[in-house]
């Protein structure tokens, strides 16, 4: 039940990410002159879900007041006259909600791609090591152990910094996915290897082999399904870890370029204490990150009673 709810929420987020260009009320990089740091304009139930427009009190101070005498329709409505920022506007007068949606696309997309890649690479390497045994197994698992003891955040940081600091977003996306896979695979591989090595001599595998099934067939049809549960748990622990890794890298300026909206680059606005204190709505992506971690933790908690939770068991947080 909990798992289903978690899948539902993550699915909603993923759906929002996919549909971001259509859901976003404005172009995420369009800046509205005169609306720098405009506060959130909540829709009023009493006014039929319309919002009050903002009146600038002082342009220099970036102080706004709601004009209670008038209402404007929500930004998706056809007859929009003035901008409505449901989650406020950032330092350049860009709509935070639109940027958040566009950022979801980038951040969650990157995390999902990296999780898929990690599970794929990890399963293949782990199954290979477990099935082959011997020297190869030894070497691969020693490598995995070595990668696992490293504080991954630092490794990611150094690897990323070894590349040119400024790169186009698409390149950064591929690069970060690659780095995440490179540091994440041992988490999956170790478990898969263990399960394959244990199960390969069990009756059903031996039976399949004696019926003439080749090594590949036994692996894919009989042994990999046995790893499903482990892989699913690891994958769901990796998702928040990767989301967080992207946010951290972009936050310190080693991730996506500042012009590309992502949860991390948006949080950079919050790095300035003055900005954060006066315009706390720049923290919006932080809540998106919390939503992802919390969902994962709630979903995993009952099933894995003895397992530490996402922020500490994840390879990135180590």
């Amino acid at each position: 039940m909990r798992t289903r709810r978690a899948v539902l929420l993550l699915g909603t987020l993923a759906g929002a990410a996919l549909l971001a260009p259509w859901l976003a009320p404005y172009d995420p990089s369009a800046s509205f002159r005169g609306f720098r740091h405009a506060p959130p304009m909540p829709p009023r139930l009493s006014e039929g879900l319309q919002a009050h427009p903002l009146r600038r009190e002082s342009l220099l101070d970036e102080r706004f007041v709601e004009d209670r005498t008038r209402v404007v329709p929500l930004p998706w409505s056809r007859d929009r006259t003035e901008p409505v920022f449901l989650l406020g506007a950032d330092a350049s007068g860009r709509d935070v909600l639109s940027r958040l949606l566009a950022g979801t696309r980038v951040s969650l997309g990157l995390a999902l791609v990296a999780v898929l890649g990690t599970t794929l690479v990890g399963s293949v390497l782990g199954a290979w090591a477990g099935a082959a045994g011997g020297r190869l197994d030894e070497v691969m698992m020693r490598t995995a152990d070595f990668v696992l003891v490293l504080p991954v955040l630092y490794v990611v940081l150094v690897l990323r910094a070894a590349m040119p600091l400024v790169l186009p977003s698409a390149v950064v996306f591929t690069l970060m996915a690659g780095i995440f896979i490179a540091v994440g695979w041992p988490v999956v591989a170790r478990g898969v290897r263990g399960i394959v090595a244990r199960e390969r001599d069990r009756e059903y595998a031996v039976a399949a082999r004696s019926l003439g099934a080749g090594t590949m067939r036994v692996l894919v049809r009989h042994l990999l399904p046995a790893c499903g549960g482990h892989v699913a748990v690891q994958a769901s622990l990796l998702l928040p870890a990767f989301v967080l890794a992207e946010a951290t890298l972009s936050f310190v300026g080693l991730g996506f370029p500042a012009t590309q909206p992502s949860w991390g680059t948006m949080l950079r606005d919050a790095a300035d204490v003055n900005e954060l204190t006066r315009f706390p709505w720049v923290l919006a992506p932080a809540f998106a990150i919390i939503a992802v971690t919390l969902t994962t933790n709630l979903a995993l908690q009952p099933r894995t009673a003895e397992r530490p939770l996402a922020t500490d068991a994840s390879p990135i947080a180590r």
Partner: protein, 319 residues
Amino acid sequence: MAIYCVRRILLALLLVWIAASTAFVLTRFAPGDATFVEEQFLAPAAREARRAQLGLDRPLAAQYAGWLAGMLRLDFGESSLYARPVGQLLRERTVNTAILAITALLLATVLGVPAGIYTGRPRSGLTVPLVRGVSVTLVSLPPLVGSLLLVLLAARTGWLPTGGMTSADGSASWAAWLGDVAAHLPVPALALALPLAATLERLQSRALAEAAGEPFVDAARARGVSSRDALVRHAWPASLAPLLGLYGLMVGTLFSGSFVVEVVTAWPGIGRLMVDALRARDLFLVAGAAAAGAMCLATATLITDVLHAWLDPRIRERA
């Protein structure tokens, strides 16, 4: 035990060497070097002179050999970013990170373990689900987000300073300095400690509940031990083993977490130094920070492992 320790120390030194060398080589091969910021302002000849001064014109092998020879004498070279010896910078910053990490660890223990004992005991009422809910929420509060929220809270209320390690200059008295640091410490330390405390609470709660169901607790009760003593004296010690295992994992968590927190709250620690060095392509500083980081990590892991071996004879035998 002695052989075990020696082996572990050799392994730790190997880790330090690999980490520092990798960081060195990667940074050396990275596009751009320490002069890339000054580039716009310097004439080509002046830039070449600067590169020669930093030793960047030498081939990688020669540069690496020189650096490694220095390392063996504990001379880490000079930082191009700060124009100071790297060793000196590292000492200061490592101490700062250690202050932060140890405070966070203590805070997490003081907050988490008693809360876990409280919720692990069989009792009814609303407080247990409440604590549990808070816990699960806090576990999901990564240091990046947590520190931002705490900075916001501190700035809005004005209760605590929001960044840095000290406000006054270094000339103040020892006691004043200590007070100043103590005022700056809660925000970063809490950001680090809260998720850890929550993890500890969850684990302690489960471990205690499990241990309380063991036959030896029933046996103690049957002998007439009060239910409180059966829990505190018999069940609780048995529930500590998984907790100790978590402390080993927490070293890594603290290390990565402190990096983020240092960046957000401008705490002058080793993580912040690393980012600055990486972004400035400060070769010796990157390598030095990597070495120091690996050293801290190895030391902390070593301490937890030795503690473990000391507590659990089975590990000692295997080693």
